[in-house]
């Protein structure tokens, strides 16, 4: 029986449309009748309207009784107005029956007015606070830069703060102020600046909808791809709460997302089969990403330039971490890294790479970790790495590099850490 009642409660989202339609129609008909000094409509129509209002109010009340439904002012006012309208509709019916046309029409007018906020509050609960005006707002927000306060805070407020804010702190997490965001929740830190793939916040959002850890919860309004992209861009840019970060805005962004999705589709099983058959380790860096870590540890002794090139060719776009340590590659292979637009970590330990090859790393935009341990590179060669904009760490043990050479280079390129342990 309780189950049936629960189902009845959930039908609120269906029933509620009946009083909305009937009362507005009734109002309109009575308004024209009043203009033409005609009498009221037959009572059966008023009775129908009253019945529909009662149906919506009872089902709504039952829905609210379900455990886990939140309490806030929107809910509270929606409920109050709903009950008021149900009672008002009974009053309407009674006035109609008593023949008090004037009072009947006034009450009806009041009811129709009350339906507007009642319906709107209901909509806010199911679709989110800004559902109606969102397209207008977003159209205005196309700009070259975004900031935490203009873009991130409103997004978190709309999608997360209801449960992770001052009123509720599910999972001991609050996302309403910078301090709380940095504090994280019971599962650890929520965001890792500069590292979207390592940020719990994004990981949860990207989980499949049916996963119990997915956020926002299944029944709540979900983030749009562009909103996820916005969060990702912000975290990637360092998750600063003051500084602006580049954000191309709504329309272009949608296009970019579409492009990325197309690219993902190109990651056909066919493309990875040769890698796996050659016993090369291929692993996505995180759930729901096409970013790959590729490791040649197993077949390294046989992997020359031609083989590596042939195996990597189909997946160049996806390589973020690449381990070519102890392979038999030469400087000839180096230009290939320029064709990996997302490459961040490159391990060339114990290979025949020399200064000649390093020249070809040139201005790689994303490379941030480079392992040159036990190669033949020299001070001259590594000085060419100054031009790499994202480079953070270079390992140089057991190379021809000298302490003096590294120290002077370190001064010229302070953003990169050159590590030469003796």
């Amino acid at each position: 029986m309780t189950e049936l009642l629960l189902v009845f409660g959930r039908f609120h989202v269906v029933f509620l449309h009946l009083p909305l339609g009937i009362f507005f129609a009734l109002g309109f008909v009575e308004w024209t009748a009043w203009r033409k000094s005609q009498g009221p409509v037959p009572r059966v129509w008023v009775a129908l309207a009253t019945a529909s209002a009662l149906l919506a109010a009872t089902s709504g009340w039952l829905l609210h009784e379900e455990p886990g439904r939140g309490e806030d002012w929107v809910m509270e006012w929606h409920e109050r107005l709903g009950i008021a309208i149900a009672l008002g509709s009974i009053l309407c019916l009674w006035l109609h029956r008593k023949g008090k046309v004037k009072q009947y029409r006034r009450t009806l007018c009041l009811l129709v007015t009350a339906l507007l906020p009642a319906g709107h509050f209901g909509g806010m609960m199911t679709h989110g606070d800004d559902f109606l005006w969102e397209p207008l707002k977003q159209a205005k927000e196309i700009s070259a830069d975004a900031t935490y306060s203009s873009h991130i805070a409103p997004l978190l407020k709309a999608r997360c703060v209801n449960c992770h804010g001052a009123r509720k702190q599910k999972g001991e997490l609050r996302l309403d102020t910078p301090d709380w965001i940095l504090a994280g929740g019971e599962g650890g830190l929520a965001i890792e600046p500069n590292a979207p793939l390592e940020s719990e916040l994004l990981y949860r959002i990207r989980l499949p909808l049916e996963d119990e850890d997915h956020m926002p919860p299944e029944e709540k309004r979900q983030l749009k791809p562009s909103e996820l992209e916005l969060l990702e861009t912000w975290i990637h840019a360092g998750a600063s709460f003051e500084d602006p970060f580049p954000w191309v805005g709504q329309e272009e962004q949608t296009l970019e997302v579409a492009a990325v999705e197309e690219e993902k589709e190109s990651l056909e099983p066919m493309n990875l089969a040769p890698l796996k058959d050659a016993l090369v380790h291929v692993q996505p860096l995180a759930a729901n990403t096409d970013a790959l870590w590729i490791d040649f540890s197993a077949p390294c002794a046989d992997m020359d330039d031609a083989q590596v090139r042939a195996l990597l060719r189909p997946v160049l776009q996806h390589i973020v971490e690449l381990n070519l340590a102890r392979t038999i590659i030469t400087d000839e292979l180096m230009p290939l890294f320029q064709e990996m637009p997302r490459l961040e970590k490159l391990d060339l330990r114990e290979t025949a790479i020399t200064d000649v090859g390093l020249k070809n790393l040139g201005h790689h935009p994303t490379l941030h970790t480079l392992n040159l341990v036990s190669t033949r590179v020299t001070d001259v060669g590594i000085s060419q790495l100054k031009t790499l904009p994202s480079l953070q760490k270079v390992w140089l043990w057991n190379t021809a590099c000298t302490a003096e050479g590294v120290t002077s280079l370190q001064k010229e390129a302070p953003q990169t850490h050159f590590i030469l342990v003796e």
Partner: protein, 488 residues
Amino acid sequence: MSPPFPPDPLQERELMLTRRRFFGLSAHSLGAGLGAMALQSILPKSALAATPTLGPHFRPKAKRVIYMHMEGGPSQLDLFDYKPGLQDYYDKDLPESIRKGQRLTTMTSGQARFPIAPSIFNFNKYENNQDGVWLSELLPHTAKLSKDMCVVRSMHTDSINHEPGITFFQTGNQQPGRPSFGSWMSYGLGNANANLPAFVVLISQGIGNMQALSARFWGSGFLGGEHQGCKLRSGKDAVLYLNNPAGVSREDRRRMLDLVGELNEKEYERSLDPEVRTRVAQAEMAYRMQMSVPELTDISTEDEKTLAMYGDDVHKPGSFASNCLMARRLAERGVRFIQLYMRGWDQHGNLPKEIRAQSKAVDQAQSALVKDLQRRGLLDDTLVLWSGEFGRTVYSQGTLTKTNYGRDHHPRCFSLWMAGGGVNPGTVYGATDDFGYNITENPVSVHDLHATLLHCLGFDHKNLTFPTQGRDMRLTDVFGKVIPGLMA
């Protein structure tokens, strides 16, 4: 409610089919979306596994683990947890307000007195990234890692004896039978080097009282045999019978394996027993190890300076120094989980003499291992963990003299250290009371440690699961929370 187990074997077989398909599919969606799906559907026959690997949930800080287990329970009071105030309490009874009636082992519960035994070893303060760390004179080389180590002084465990204690540390459960940490890694991440097992075990014999090390400590439980730890032998040959017998060429061996593989595949289709596929995978692994192990264990390519770093013992196969060097070589080659055991920390009596010898056997080598990984650029993504299964009591077991004492098992607090991938370097976490008996600050349970290590390895510990016996099993069971203070 799940339906009752079907009595009809044919019906069961059909269910098994759908179940396997279901698990396969759920592994895809759990894994890494498109990427993993692409990966798993095209596994070459040689890499067929009974249980597919999942891939990390988020980008890992660490790609591999070197776990040095100090079997027996090293004394935190003589190594890591400096309690200078205890000198004044020499031979006085442990106050009841500290012990609070907590359980003891039967080895000391019958003692008439619990006389406090201050450590006879000096401690020195070393610079770290906070206000310094006190370490014992027994670990002069390890102390050089003070800026890399995260020393945890507030570990506690549920177990007071070795067997359940080690089992708990390795599997997250005191009862034997669950998969070992390394097996979870093999299942969750697979192996970066298909020519070597994902989970390798190396054992060193200690100096003093040694407890048994059962193979189930590195068992894979319900995860399938190919995720089990592979123990390399300590003697001259790491793996026996590596060479083909006279008259059998590698090609012959290949043809034999192909034929047996076909037969096994038929058997698998008939019985749907995942162990059949495990057997195939193991045979293929053994075939590849015939090539990879000689290269792995050939240390003639190591230069003299490197060998000297690890100490003289490095030339003795099976010594802790030799195993540390092997651990580095395994890490270099992409092995996921390297489990080192050092036996002999169970110092119930003659502790000062034994712990001195025991510490000497590990100190230089473990320090060299971390430094060697560091200069090769491997420490950043290698998580190094050093721990026993519990600590030791502040009171003496047996006779206490100025120069000699023993210590019983103590699960209420003990110390461990970590370094490398994802670990907060140069820090001390947690604190104990003046007697080193109870935790006063930031307790860390074994489940918390597991959850945190898994986090560093890219896993949400609540989501690294395997369905068996009607529920999703985890390394952390239904416990554990990630401790941000331990992570960089």
